[in-house]
Amino acid sequence: MRRIGNAPKFRSMLAMAGVLSLSVLAVAAAGAARADDIKIGMITPITGPAAEAGRYAQWGAGMAVDEVNAAGGVMGRKITLVIEDDQTTNPGAVTAFSKLSSQPDIPVFIGSIRSTQVHATENDVLKIGKPMFIGGTDPTLTQAGNPWFFRARPNDSYSAKVIADFGVNTLKLKKWAVINSTDAFGTNGSKALIDALKAFEIEPVLVQGYANQAPDFTPVVLAVRQSNADVIGSYFTFEQDLGIFAKQLKQLGVTAPWVGSPSITNATALRLAGPALFGTYGIADFTSDSSPEAKAFATKYLALHKVEADNQSSWTYDAVKLLARAMEDAKSTDPEPVRKAILAIHDYKGLEGTYNFDSKGDGLHGYNVVKNENGKIVFTKHVDFPG
């Protein structure tokens, strides 16, 4: 252990000064948005493993904001997004939300697409009592009695029902292997899929969880091969995992049809896995061919951002539009009128489907089934479970 000499003394002062001046800068830079605008607080990953998805979410929301403003705004006022990074972590989401919710001039929010992060902010949302659109698809989020959560995507009880329905009724396959991530999204999805299959009196021949971000899936693939399953249902969280699994499935000669949760159809997965995903089915809350609205959005999105649109951007687009419409309908930004106005929305044609809000706050009740035909996502059918 040596002593700090004289030169470092000066340098350490310099370093401290650096840190201090950075912080001063930071405080100075905070707070700059026009007072007149209606603000929409948005929590999204800017850093961390889901940062790419977060960027798409911002693009989608941003396009909706521009369109609403171009059409005259809400009650004659412009709307703007106030975005905070959730770092793809739970504490990050909580901090980001508390930063937004402590600004009294933000009346409405868009939350995370990740169920755990929505769970993490649940209590604070309840406390502040303002509407929040969420993209997390864990069914319990809206059903646990929080009146302020509204979902701009179909929840997993529908995704599982659609996967099971398509596999059993359309593909006529009965020996299921269920593969899922052991995170909250994957475990709940797999649970829902097992329940949905039970309705067809089918017990899966294999239910296999895996831990996120694994370098290798050989044991999982071999288990699928051993089980002699003739159809695979899956809930993957990260596209890298999906890509590795898909490649190894091909390599080890498993040819059973595969119906995956929405991640199997998104742009990143298609790019990473390439031919390994050809011929698979997926369910998608967003497909460009499913409606004229979706088609128009997809074209515009591709032109603006040079990437194919997917559900990461479509749900935030819908959420912004729905919030704008609800505030316009309510002629208010106060929580309770806006809440009522959202629940009153019926037959609204969004990108993800036609919104009919139920009393719990779920707007959508079905999914599209799509097929990956040589890298192109082709709309196959829409399955709805009204009520």
């Binding site: 252990m1 040596r2 850093t47 493993p49 940062a51 790419e52 977060g54 960027r55 052991t182 296999q208 969880g209 895996y210 831990a211 971000q213 694994a214 370098p215 290798d216 050989t218 044991p219 999982v220 071999l222 288990a223 051993q226 596209e239 890298q240 890509g243 590795i244 390599q251 080890l252 000669g253 990143t268 790019r271 990473l272 390439g274």
Partner: protein, 291 residues
């Protein structure tokens, strides 16, 4: 039986990835007595450089590789100057924290520069892989295993047979003695960092076709590589390779026959048991003899 061989091959392939990164750990540890927590990020950086030069700029693979490695070498030198060298006389913990800071800086710097999208990098060998008796041998895994073997061979020859290698070895064993013998210790450490950066970068390029290229790929591998180096007895090149390979095999078989979700636990449990039952096996009386 084919399943056992399939698992064995995959385990060795995954293990070779751990071993490649572990080699970098071990080299820097031997030269500086510090664990470089940014070693995984060297791999991430190397893979992204390859994506930029080969994928985006469309250079030929060989040229892209050479340029990427040159950049890695420069980066390794810079890393030494900024992250390690100013702290060289300090106890090891501040240095470790400094490397943790570097790993945060590198991954988030790359995020800012290149964006969050995971990228793909095609296989160097555009071969479909081999199918022998029902066992599929992925060409990229074969390549990784071969490169790891070659590097171990190269390292052996380099350290045991060349003058520079011997100087490096002397430096890593006793810096004061080495400098008394007229070996430029600072230069030797610089060479070590450059070499480790090259090694890490190469590892990243090699695993990219399997794991894809993402900001988080470094963290994914480096923890296991760290475990591999410990199993191998930290400081031993052959040990790191044996540690890496056994780790890969253990976790692959553990996943196949015991539990997939607990896969990451097996390696650590084995390590745990090993350290508990036979600590003196690795440790001996070395500590006591310093009295």
């Amino acid at each position: 039986m084919t399943i056992v061989f399939q698992l064995l091959f995959t385990g060795l392939g995954v293990g070779a990835i751990y071993a490649l990164v572990a080699l970098g750990f071990v080299l820097i540890y031997r030269a500086t007595n510090v664990v470089n927590f940014a070693q995984g990020e060297f791999a991430m950086l190397g893979a992204f450089l390859m994506v930029i030069f080969f994928g985006d700029l469309g250079l030929p693979y060989g040229l892209g590789l050479v340029i990427s490695l040159i950049v890695m070498a420069i980066f390794g030198a810079g890393f030494n100057l900024v992250v390690y060298y100013p702290l060289r006389h300090r106890p090891y913990l501040p240095v470790v924290i400094s490397t943790i800071g570097a790993s945060i800086l590198m991954s988030n710097g790359m995020l800012a520069l290149y964006g969050p999208a995971p990228q793909t990098l095609p296989n160097l060998l555009d071969l479909p892989g081999l199918l022998i008796g029902g066992v599929f041998l992925d060409s990229q895994y074969i390549l990784i295993i071969c490169v790891t073997a070659a590097l171990v061979g190269f390292q052996y020859v380099f350290f045991e047979k060349t003058l520079l290698g011997k100087k490096l070895q002397a430096t890593s064993q006793d810096k004061e003695m080495a400098s008394l013998l007229g070996i430029p210790v600072a230069t030797m450490i610089m060479i070590t960092f450059v070499y480790s950066a090259l090694l890490g970068g190469l590892a990243g390029m090699l695993v990219a076709p399997i794991l894809f290229v993402s900001i988080g790929m470094g963290g994914l591998i480096s923890l296991k590589a760290f475990a591999a180096s410990i199993i191998g007895g930290f400081g031993d090149v052959a040990g790191a390779v044996v540690g890496g390979l056994s780790l890969g095999v253990i976790e692959t078989f553990g996943a196949a026959y015991i539990s997939v979700p607990y896969k990451d636990a097996f390696a650590f449990l084995v390590l745990f048991a090993f350290l508990l039952v036979r600590p003196q096996g690795i440790f001996g009386e070395r500590v006591a003899q310093k009295a």
